[in-house]
Amino acid sequence: MTNTDTTATAAPKGRGRRHTRLADVDPSATLLDVRDLKVEFRTRYGIARAVNGVSFSVEAGETLAILGESGCGKSVTAQAIMGIVDSPPGFVTGGEVRYRGVDLLKLSRQERRKARADRLAMIFQDALSALNPVFSVGFQLGEVFRFHRGMSRADARKKAIELLDLVNIPAARQRVSDYPHQFSGGMRQRVMIAMALALDPDVLIADEPTTALDVTVQAQIMNLLAELQRDLNMGMILITHDMGVVADVADKISVMYAGKVVERADVHDIYADPAHPYTKALLESIPRVDLKGQQLNVIKGLPPALTDLPRGCNFAPRCRYARDRCREDTPHLYQVTTPGGDGSGRTPRGSACHYWEEVVAQ
C-alpha cells in the first residue's frame, strides 16, 4: 500500500479538512477504488440511505458492471464518484473514492472539478435530456477543449468534428452545428460518448447507456463502447439492470440491492454459480431468447423503502432461504469459493448471505 493510503486512513472520518491533491496520484495504485461509500438523501419522509457502504474497484482496461433494479442506488453511486449528487437533498456521508490512491472526496472543489474534466467521464441514460437543447453539439463538445485546453473556437470545432468521427457519426463536418433534437436516439448517445471521451479520461462511467435505445442500436452502442474502452485502455463502470448486456461486456460484476453490494464476482462465475439468493432469483426470473419453455421464477414482494430498511438482511423479506438469523444479523460480504469456478481466481468472490454455501449448492 502507498503513502497516501495510510495518511488518508489516519485522517478523521467525515469530510476531512485537509485536502489531498490530484498531483499526488500514484500510477501504480488501483485505478479506481471505492471503499465503504455512503450517500443519503434527506427528504421530508426521512433519511433515505441510497448508498449504504458500497465497495468495489476497477483497473485500467477492465469493465465492472454494477447490476441492480431501479432504486437500488446504482446511479447514485455513479453520481457520488463523479461528485455530482444533487445536494441538497443528497449528501455523501462516508467512505472513500480513490483514484490512483488519491481520495477524490477529499479534494478541494477546484481539484475535484479538474478530476471530473480530465480523469473521469460519465455517460447518461437519456441523452436527449442530458444534452443542452439550446446549444449545438459542436458547441457542447468544443466547450470542453476551449475551457480545459484553452483552444480557440476554430480549433475546438475541429476537435469536435474529430470526436464525432471517432464515434462514427456520418457527415460529422455538417452535423457538428446541428442541435441535439435533430439527432436520432442512437446518434445522440454517440454524441454523449464523444463528449465523455473528449479529454481522454481514465475512468468511464456509463449509467444505463442503452436503456432508452432499440436492440439493434443498443448493439451498435455497446460495440462502440467496448471497442473504445479497449483502444483507450479505460476502466469502465457499466451501470445497468440488463443481465444480458452485462453478460456480453463485463469482466466482473457487483450486484446491488437496497443500497448495498450483495454479491461480487467474475462475470463467468456469477452466471454459472450465483452465490446470493437475489442474484440467483434474478437470473431465474428473466426469459432468454435462446430458450423456450423456461419456468420463470418470481421474486415475491417489493424492494424495501430506503427510508425504512428492515433489520438484518435487506433481502430477507423476499428470500426463500431466509431464516431467523437473517432478520437479526446483517450479513457482511462473505468470501466465496465456488467448486464450479474455472479456478483462475481472477476476482475474489463475495456474497452478503449467511447461507451462501446453500445457495451455491442448490
Binding site: 419522509y45 421464477n297 418470481v298 415475491k300 414482494g301 417489493l302 423503502a305 423479506p317 423476499r318
Partner: protein, 315 residues
Amino acid sequence: MTDIQSAGPLGQPGPLHGEATSLPPGDGPSTERNASLWADAWRELIRNPVFVLSSVAVLAVMSMALAPWLWTSLDPQDCEIELGRQGPGGGHFFGMTKDGCDMYASVIYGSRPSIAVAVLATLGVVLVGILTGILAGYYGRWVDAIISRVVDIVMGLPFLLGAITLLALWRKREWYAVVAVLIVLGWPLVTRIMRASVLATKNMDYVQAARSLGASDLRIITRHVLPNAIAPVIVVATIALGSYVAAEATLSFLGVGLRPPTVSWGVLITHGTQWALSPGHAYLLLVPAGLLVVTVLAFILMGDALRDALDPKLR
C-alpha cells in the same frame, strides 16, 4: 361471468398473490400518502401558515361582502357633508370619507361591489375558459384552430387598454358593464391554461383505456379529463380574483369603472388619490388602499400555496 367467478385462486397462488400479501395489511408502498391527491394537497395546505393566514383573510373579506352588518353597526349612508375629510378620532377611528361618511363603515360596505365584481368576473372567465379550453384541447382540429385563433386575437388587446376603450363608450358605468368587460377580455388566459392541461391529460393512457372500453366523450371529459386537468385553473382563478379586485379599483380611478353613488373600494381609493397629497389626508388613500392590498395579497398567496401543493413537479 361464471368462468371468472369459479376461477378462484389460479394455478400458482404463491407468486400471484405474493406481491399483495407481502405488504403489511392496510399499507401501500408509500404509507405517508394514503389518500387521493387532493386530500394530500389539503393536508399540506393546512400545515402551511401562509395558506392558513391568507384563507382567514379571504374569509374575512368574503364575510364583509356578504354580511357587512357583522362588522359594523354604523350605516355608511349616514353622512354629514360638513364632516367630510375629517381625520381619525372622535369615535371615527378611521376618520371620515370625502363625503363625510364613516370611513370604516364605508370600507366595510364598499367591499360588496368590489368583491361582487371580482367574483362574478372570475366565475364568468372560468366558465367560458374551461368550456372553450376543453373544446379546443379535447376535440382539436378545426374547433381548436378557431378557438385558438380567437384567443390570440383577444390576447392581442392589452387588458387595461381594451377595458378603457370599451368602457369609455359606455355612458353610465353599471357594475355589469365592468363585469362583462373583464370577462370578455379575461377568458383567453383560462382557455389557454385549460387547453394545455387538457392536451396533457388527453394523452394519458387512462383516457385511451376509457375510450377503448367504449366510454362516451361526455363521460371521458367529466370523469377523466376534467378532474385531472382542472388544478391549474383553480390556481389561476384564485389569483385572478385578487387581480380583478385591483382591476375594479384601477378602472374606477381611470374614470371608466364604478362611480358614485356606488361606494366601492375603487371609488374610495380614487377619492383618496385625489386628496392624498394634501397634508393630513393621506388616510383617505391609505385606509381603503390598505384593505384592498391585503385582500389582493391574500388571494395571490392563497393561489401560490395552492400551486405549490398541487404541482406534482415539486413533490
